[in-house]
């Protein structure tokens, strides 16, 4: 297929088609600082800390690295996988092929063995005989008796189970040439206050390291080597970064109902508030977090607080968004600011709570009954979540409306390498048009919904500020003064202004990010967590002679340049993680461009996107459709 395509491409492409392709399509060549490995374990056995130890150690060696935690919706006993990608080029998308698989869960042996790339390695626990399932031609099978070593070295079942993870981390450090000084330092930091645990962990890491050094050929052909490419970077997950953004934006009220994968957002908010938002004199909180009885109440609390003048938010996932619909419409129609974080997971219904998807796009854009449209931000990684948080609160207050931050499980819960977060101390919240006591004193009769400036945004008053500012918020039909109405014209005047307000928002929300190349002949449109994989696919497509312009959508409503970009390319691929091509539908609805003029590239199995999906889809399409 590769050859066929090169032929066809070279026929219609000009100068750039000179690269000879030695590796087959989608086959990445691994090497120093360019490889991926994964640990297949049982959840609840403590492997997470060993996995992050390895990832962080590689990061501290100055090598770009990302981790993907593929975990079950369960607390203990089910298969869980942690994938680590090491990429000297800084690619952070999910890897397609595993150079090394650590198979420590017998119930997933067959799957784990199959996931090793041809020529790659499998590491298993040789305390027991090699299961026939683990035998495979064309890969290297390495055995280390982790279980037996732990039985010999440590006391107690729990200790042995937990420390087995550290033993395999030690073995991997040897096999992958991970700096043991750094690993030692990290253990020291982690167990500074627990000398007993420190000793046990040091012993465990050494056990694995020494065994591998003595019995196996170390390092493997693909391994780590010090670089200097992570100096300005951090490792952080999106929920933590989003929560930090809410703290910096000045959010004071957070209401929520626990739901995977958004729970850690409020937990992080709480942690940061305990650190930064406690009155030093009284020890009292400058924030209020309310765990609601359900998502309906969480939305109501957020809207009530927003009405009273606080920066308030709720964090949830798809099922919560479904429950919040009525309140979302209320906030839209009564024009109350509120920020909703939707950390999307795989739907519909309960779906797969620990798998990722971008399948809430349309239900966010047009949430609630009646004519409604909402501002949505689409952060692409944790650093972007931090920024999007702040932007969301500004937009919510400026436009007096619900604003959604559409993150997903991949961004929210996985460890991403990002640039260090920075804060501009000159930032002040955009509170929008809020009349203060002095301004209200000069108002004869306050009308809540007057469009004085022609931008569709009316001035609001906050309760308790001044007698002249008092008005009656109603979800029922109201006229521009805020009074109840059942008159067609008076009703229409308000909803038409809301449409104008939305049009204004399109000129203010974050514009798309463009990645253009000279002589591009195809275009890719995508958003959110797909970004990392799409960026990588653009490079890999170029290696094959396919030159793509790429537009990352950052917000809804779409600004003018979104339409212009799509219209100016003949082949436009819309890459998204849902079955029904929701982004493509929204692009068509909002720009008027025909839906079929865009080619849908869909990946909705619940795993983070890999560049391969995009490369294959684009290349395949171009072979099918003559240019």
């Amino acid at each position: 297929m590769t050859e066929r395509m090169s032929e066809r491409k070279s026929a219609r492409m000009t100068t750039s088609m000179t690269t000879s392709m030695t590796a087959p399509l989608n086959q990445r060549v691994s090497g120093v600082n360019d490889f991926a490995f994964k640990m297949a374990t049982v959840n609840g056995t403590g492997s997470a800390s060993a996995n992050s130890l390895l990832m962080q150690a590689i990061f501290r060696m100055g090598i770009p690295v990302t981790g993907k935690n593929i975990f079950p919706s369960n607390i203990q006993g089910l298969p869980t996988v942690y994938e680590i990608r090491v990429s000297k080029d800084g690619y952070t998308g999910r890897p397609q092929h595993m150079d090394l698989v650590v198979a420590l869960n017998s119930s997933t042996y067959a799957k784990d063995v199959a996931s090793v790339r041809p020529g790659g390695c499998l590491l298993y626990d040789s305390s027991w005989p090699l299961e026939p399932e683990l035998v495979r031609e064309g890969i290297t099978i390495l055995g280390i008796p982790f279980g037996r070593m732990c039985v010999d070295a440590f006391q107690g079942d729990r200790n042995r189970t937990l420390l087995r993870n550290i033993v395999y981390a030690g073995a991997l450090a040897a096999l992958l040439d991970i700096d043991m000084d750094i690993v030692g330092q990290m253990l020291l930091e982690k167990f500074a206050k627990k000398p007993k645990l420190l000793d046990a962990n040091k012993t465990a890491i050494r056990l694995g390291y020494d065994y591998a050094k003595t019995h196996l050929h170390c390092p493997l052909p693909f391994h780590a080597q010090r670089m200097d490419a992570t100096r300005d970077s951090i490792i952080i997950d999106g929920n933590t970064a989003a929560a930090l953004g809410a703290v910096f934006a000045g959010a004071t009220v957070g209401a929520w109902y626990p739901i995977t994968p958004s729970t850690s957002l409020m937990e992080a908010f709480k942690e940061f508030c305990e650190q930064y938002r406690v009155d030093p004199e009284t020890g009292l909180a400058r924030y209020c977090i309310i765990q609601a009885e359900d998502e309906l109440a969480a939305a109501g609390i957020t809207i009530g607080a927003g009405w009273a003048g606080a920066r308030a938010f709720t964090n949830t996932s798809g099922p919560g968004i479904s429950l919040m619909q009525e309140f979302i419409g209320l906030a839209y129609y009564t024009e109350i600011p509120a920020v909703f974080y939707d950390v999307q997971r795989t739907g519909p219904a309960t779906g797969m709570p620990t798998r990722t998807q971008q399948s809430d796009l349309m239900s966010l854009a047009y949430a609630s009954h009646g004519d409604t449209k909402h501002i949505i931000l689409f952060p692409c990684d944790p650093a972007d979540c931090f920024q999007a948080s702040v932007t969301a609160f500004d937009l919510a207050e400026r436009f007096q409306t619900p604003v959604f931050v559409a993150s997903d499980l991949d961004i929210g819960m996985n460890d991403w390498m990002c640039k260090r977060l920075q804060w501009d101390d000159s930032y002040r919240p955009d509170r929008g048009k809020v009349l203060n006591a002095e301004q209200l004193a000069g108002v004869k009769k306050f009308s809540r919904y007057l469009d004085v400036d022609g931008d569709g945004i009316a001035a609001r008053s906050l309760p308790g500020v001044h007698p002249n500012g008092a008005y009656f918020v109603r979800g029922s039909g109201h006229d521009k003064h805020g009074a109840y109405t059942e008159e067609s014209d008076a009703y229409r005047e308000v909803v038409d202004r809301l449409a104008r307000k939305f049009a204004t928002a399109a000129t203010v929300v974050p514009a798309p990010e463009f990645h253009r190349q000279p002589d591009a002949h195809v275009a890719i449109v995508s958003l959110g967590s797909c970004h990392a994989a799409v960026l990588e696919s653009v490079d890999r497509l170029r290696d094959q002679g396919i030159i793509a312009d790429y537009m990352r959508i950052r917000a809804f409503p779409f600004c003018e340049s979104v339409k212009a970009f799509i219209a100016s390319h003949s082949a436009v691929f819309v890459v998204e993680q849902n079955r029904d091509a929701q982004l493509r539908s929204m692009l068509s609805i909002e720009t008027g461009l025909p839906r079929d003029s865009m080619i849908a590239v869909l990946d909705y199995g619940g795993m983070p996107l890999t560049a391969n999906v995009v490369v294959s889809a684009v290349a395949h399409h171009l072979t099918q459709v003559p240019a």
Binding site: Q275, G300, G304, F327, R420, W423, G464
Partner: protein, 351 residues
């Protein structure tokens, strides 16, 4: 919710309160409810209470959901902010508003449909959080705006206008609130303003959620023979098991203090509630005693009214959350943002 402004006629001789307002200043738009509706009497009692307490109208927020009862927030205190939210969700909106601005007086008006059916969960959890608010349930046992379906407070055997008897057991908000740990529980009757006003005033001074269930007959759909929420039935079966007077802080307590039949509860703001003894052995500070008496009345087909339970020692939402005394909306941004120096220190932990 239609609203018709009342003509601004002022009687020059009307008495003024400490703020210089007459009782008319606490009124709102003209009621659009049916003539004789119990809710209008509750509105009148609320107006009287606000005026007597000299509540600054713009520092009060009127909160409601959907239904006949929820419409009434338009009919009092037109100078206050009002929020007519969605059906059954007034408690959460009020919770959020209270979290953001603890200094306002929150007046939630709800009904038996709004609070005991669609909003039962929200009512329960607002009670558990002890959100500082007056929570009035205008209870008529029937859905008025949709023309006469039974509500969750309809008694077994109570008949609809068409003669159909309700078979499902009722939810009694008073018993429910007592069970959930409410710190102020009362029941009144729209037809007894003299009893209701002191209860409402005490509720407004309460440091937590003050639940006031008011039997408020629906003249159109539930005031017939066979209804247990009619004017006639309530008058005949009303048993005042606790009679309370409310004394605001600024009023001096006079000779009545010496009355041996009185027991006094001091509110957190220094106001007092004085209970006159009307029922043997009734102790309004004992949850168990309150529960037992209300249950006993219920079994005798009596409607127990009065300020039934009060606990001024309970923690409200803010005490439970440990928030600062300043309303969160009044905190300057400088006190909320940690700044870049702190961020950079924090970033070192992510390496």
């Amino acid at each position: 919710m239609t609203s018709i402004a009342k003509p601004p006629v002022r009687h020059p001789g009307l008495q003024r309160n400490a703020l210089g307002y007459t009782v008319r200043d606490y009124e709102g738009a003209m009621s659009t409810l049916c003539a004789g509706c119990g809710h209008d009497s509750v509105t009148a009692a609320l107006v009287q209470s606000f005026w007597e307490l000299a509540l600054p109208p713009h520092r009060a927020a009127k909160m409601s959901g959907i239904g006949c009862s929820s419409k009434t927030t338009a009919y009092f205190m037109k100078q206050s902010h009002g929020f007519n939210s969605v059906h059954g969700r007034m408690p959460s909106v009020t919770t959020g508003a209270n979290a953001a601005n603890r200094d306002l007086t929150y007046i939630g008006i709800s009904g038996d449909g709004d609070s005991l059916s669609i909003g039962l969960g929200q009512l329960s959890h607002a009670i558990r959080r002890n959100v500082r608010m007056l929570y009035v349930i205008e209870n008529n046992g029937v859905y008025g705006l949709t023309k006469g379906q039974f509500s969750a407070s309809a008694d077994v055997g109570s008949t609809s206008k068409r003669g159909e008897a309700n078979q499902q057991p009722p939810i009694d908000p008073v018993l429910l609130a007592l069970t959930l740990g409410a710190t102020f529980v009362a029941r009144g009757f729209s037809g007894d303003k003299a009893q209701l006003v002191p209860i409402l005033k005490a509720g407004l001074s309460h440091n937590g959620l003050a639940l006031v269930d008011v039997i408020s007959p629906c003249v159109t759909f539930n005031d017939h023979e066979g209804s247990t929420k009619s004017y006639k039935f309530t008058r005949e079966h009303d048993v005042e098991i606790s009679a309370a007077d409310f004394v605001p802080l600024r009023h001096e307590i006079t000779a009545q203090d010496s009355d041996e039949e009185m027991s006094v509860v001091t509110m957190h703001d220094g106001s007092t509630v004085r209970f006159r003894k009307v029922h043997d052995g009734y102790d309004p500070t004992s949850r168990e005693s309150a529960y037992a008496h209300v249950r006993a009345c219920q079994q005798r087909h009596e409607v127990a009214t009065g300020l039934l339970f009060i606990d001024e020692g309970g923690k409200d939402l803010h005490a439970l959350a440990g928030t600062v005394a300043t309303p969160l909306v009044d905190l300057p941004y400088e006190q909320l943002c940690p700044g870049n120096a702190a961020l950079q220190t924090l970033m070192n932990e992510f390496r």
